[in-house]
């Protein structure tokens, strides 16, 4: 297990595409691993204290990582545990493995992910499991679980997999969603705009865009997009 602790409070963003595979590298490779501090190139050891416990493919991020972006992006196996908060794009494009965030997460968590599992104990901000701007499809597989609340744009253009939010969420849940499942245990704002397929289940209150019609077990739409998406009361 590889343990990283920030050496100081980051004033600007750090971009660090770190996956659990890094734990299998040599000490020298880890120390020299290239990251960005703002626009400047930096070595991992410039910004983080690095230590090891055992040699399994696991990363432990100990401290405030809310300014650190792209953690776990493109990871395919292994585990990442974040003791504090995590920054944007955590787990983007990931295909396998597991990320556990004990604090809060910012935007774009699990964006366009294809597999694996992400668990956040705190709150998340916007664009959970979304497609990046301009791209056609968001997350297509795997599962994202958020124990707290989420912001806007949950599962936009989602093409598969599952998102579960225990708390409340904002507007635009499952916009242009094609497949997969979103489960919200709290309340949320507008749901399902231009939805083409998939299922959204909500326990609390929500607002439906006008393109949905009542069916036996809930609502179906968005008819404006010729969609057959389901919005159901949990």
């Amino acid at each position: 297990m590889l343990i990283l602790k920030p050496k100081f409070d980051f004033e600007i963003s750090v971009e660090a595409e770190i996956t659990p595979a890094l734990a299998l590298a040599t000490d020298e490779e880890i120390s020299n691993y290239q990251v960005y501090y703002g626009k400047d190139k930096a070595k991992l050891s410039d910004l983080f204290e690095i230590s090891r416990e055992g040699d399994d493919a696991k990363l432990l991020l100990d401290g405030d990582f809310s300014k650190v972006k792209w953690i776990g992006a493109r990871m395919d196996e292994g585990e990442i545990v974040v003791k504090g908060d995590i920054g944007d794009h955590c787990g983007a494009y990931m295909t396998g493995g597991k990320i556990v965030v004990e604090g809060n997460a910012l935007d774009w968590i699990g964006a366009e992910m294809k597999g694996g599992e992400i668990e956040v104990n705190g709150n998340v901000r916007n664009y959970v499991g979304c497609a990046y701007w301009g791209n056609m499809t968001g997350m297509t597989g795997g599962k994202i679980t958020v124990k707290g609340n989420a912001g806007n744009y949950i599962g936009e253009k989602m093409g598969g997999g599952e998102i579960e939010i225990m708390g409340d969420t904002g507007d635009f849940v499952g916009t242009e969603m094609k497949d997969g499942t979103i489960v919200i245990h709290g309340n949320c704002g507008f749901v399902g705009g231009d939805m083409k397929g998939g299922t959204i289940k909500i326990k609390g209150n929500f607002e439906l865009v006008p393109g949905f019609r009542k069916v036996e077990d809930g609502f179906e739409g968005d008819v404006n997009a010729g969609g057959k998406g389901k919005v159901l009361q949990l």
């Binding site: 990046y132 701007w133 301009g134 791209n135």
Partner: protein, 559 residues
């Protein structure tokens, strides 16, 4: 001063085909040996190909269209080509940022590129963007075919006013020539229609595309502008449209000019479809090639699609809407006051898609079947794809073997709908150099471009490639690779790129054409005042671009 030693020179304009020669450069021009003395930098070009810098005469590189394209396609902006440092940051997949456009042309050995459709009211923006493109020489062609002034004067058959207006408009927009996009059709689009045939009447004006094109050719020739009318035909992107294209070409038959063509028909691939629907669509390239080859007053460019990402952006607003409906992709529409419009739709060309494969085959058919002094190599960037793939087109035109290999991976539909597989013809290296250098320069009427004769601009590309030993038909992979990055790109006598690495940032000139001395502005003064006060969103005195606002303007006075 430069001395390019022992290079193998191909210079079609001067009839030089792979001869070992030395080239001398002084003050940004190609000169005789005797003029170069003293501190001379020698470039050893032994066993290397030396040609004039490439000239892209039809690309969309600046102005509101490409900028809207960049805005609506954030996914295009995730490819980092160069991190800021000695040079500016350069990004983009197919849609590039302004610095990236200049840098990528330079790396490939291209030294000039002309923006092919400038909305006149957006002229200042276009020039601001052209001024942000380093390395290359530039110019912009304002669009005329749907401008209310033009429609009005054609309806009135007032040729003096039309001629005066053309001269006024090109001066005001600091433009280079007369671009015509779907004449009448974009005006009809303001009412939800289009002009699909040459005889469809333009709503509100009582004129037809036939009359607009004829009148614009007539007055462009009366002004004897550097470049001829540059036509994007009606009915673009529709099965069966090759007939409209040939009919449009025939409108030029009563005009001639001993210096150049009188009509350049652009991105003909999009206008060369036979058939009656997308189910039976085929190639009309052979018929078009037959016509173009039979006359000497018409040139065309290919508009070759490249498999992969592209963005359709044209001043042909109704066509863009059709494309959006056809593909379901995002769509943006632009209206430029009383001058025309535009549309933008993202597109991807897939080899297994029968229509895309057909378009790809038609582009190549045109390139192969039309005489090399009449067809310019182009992708209509970014409509057909990236200009960085010109080497692919060059290699394909020169090698049947490469075409056979490529045909295996595309939809079999092209076998029955086009004649590409049966074409034996292989263009020579000389011809391909002609299609990318001397011909576009001649089409644009620029004597100092596209060749290596004395007095020409010292825009030179040197490639790691000995035409005397490399077999272009069998070694197509080498050809492709070699033309992707020049060994040296020289712009105005300075080395700007070497082996695919930028060396020095330079700023090219912006050419513009001044024909105002050939007309009396008095003829249209009151019309201009009236139209501006009635219909434009800005005052007449605020319209247009002053020469002093342009970084390096180069005025070409039409005498």
């Amino acid at each position: 001063m430069l001395h390019i030693k022992n290079g193998i020179v191909i210079d079609p304009k001067n009839g030089i085909d792979a001869e070992k020669m030395d080239i001398f450069v002084k003050n940004g021009k190609i000169v005789e040996e005797s003029e170069v003395k003293g501190d001379v930098k020698v470039i050893d070009a032994s066993n290397k190909l030396v040609v004039a810098g490439g000239f892209d005469m039809h690309a969309h590189i600046a102005g509101s269209k490409i900028n809207v394209g960049r805005e609506m396609r954030p996914e295009e902006m995730r490819t980092v080509r160069l991190v800021a440092g000695k040079f500016r940051a350069s990004i983009g997949r197919v849609l590039l940022t302004s610095p990236a456009i200049g840098y990528e042309y330079a790396k490939m050995g291209y030294t000039s590129a002309f923006e092919a459709a400038q909305p006149p009211v957006g002229a200042l923006h276009t020039h601001e963007e052209l001024d942000a493109i380093p390395m290359i020489d530039k110019a912009a062609l304002p669009v005329f075919g749907n401008w209310h002034f033009v429609l009005k004067y054609v309806a009135e058959k007032n040729w003096e006013k039309l001629r005066t207006f053309i001269a006024w408009a090109i001066e005001r927009t600091k433009g280079f020539g007369v671009k015509v996009v779907n004449p009448g059709g974009v005006e009809a689009w303001m009412y939800g229609g289009n002009c699909k045939s040459l005889d469809d009447e333009v709503p509100g004006f009582g004129v037809t595309p036939r009359e607009i094109i004829t009148a614009l050719i007539q007055e462009t020739e009366n002004l004897n502008l550097s470049h001829s009318v540059h036509l994007h035909c009606n009915n673009l992107g529709t099965p069966g449209n090759y007939e409209t294209t040939i009919e449009s070409m025939k409108l030029a038959s009563k005009f001639s000019n001993d210096r150049r063509q009188v009509l350049h028909v652009t991105h003909v691939q999009f206008n060369a479809y036979s058939g009656s629907s997308w189910r039976d669509v085929g190639s009309g390239a052979a018929e078009i090639a037959k016509y173009v080859n039979s006359v000497d007053n018409i040139t065309i460019d290919m508009g070759q699609p490249i498999f992969g990402h592209a963005t359709a952006m044209t001043g042909d607003a109704p066509f863009q809407f059709t494309l959006h409906k056809l593909t379901g992709a995002r769509w943006s529409n632009k209206d430029s006051e009383i001058e025309g419009g535009a549309g933008i739709v993202p597109i991807g060309y897939l080899p297994k898609n029968p229509i895309h494969a057909l378009q790809w085959a038609i582009g190549l058919e045109l390139g192969l079947l039309v005489d090399s002094d009449k067809v310019v190599l182009s992708t209509d960037y970014p409509n057909g794809g990236p200009f960085t793939e010109y080497p692919y087109i060059m290699a394909m035109l020169m090698s049947r073997k490469m075409r056979e290999k490529e045909l295996e991976r595309v939809s079999p539909y092209v076998q029955k709908a086009t004649g590409l597989a049966a074409i034996d013809r292989e263009k020579t290296l000389f011809e391909v150099i002609q299609m990318t250098r001397s011909l576009p320069a001649r089409v644009m009427g620029l004597d100092s471009k596209g060749h290596l004769g004395f007095g020409a601009d010292a825009d030179i590309a040197i490639y790691n490639f000995d035409p005397l030993t490399v077999d272009v038909t069998n070694d197509f992979e080498t050809v492709y690779k070699v033309f992707k990055t020049s060994a040296y790109t020289i712009k105005g006598g300075e080395i700007i790129a070497m082996n695919g690495e930028l060396v020095k940032e330079v700023w090219g000139r912006t050419f513009w054409v001044d024909a105002t001395s050939k007309v009396e502005m008095e003829a249209i003064e009151s019309d201009l005042d009236e139209m501006f006060s009635k219909y434009y969103s800005l005052e007449r005195q605020n319209y247009g671009v002053e020469e002093s606002w342009i970084k390096k303007p180069e005025r070409l006075v039409m005498g």
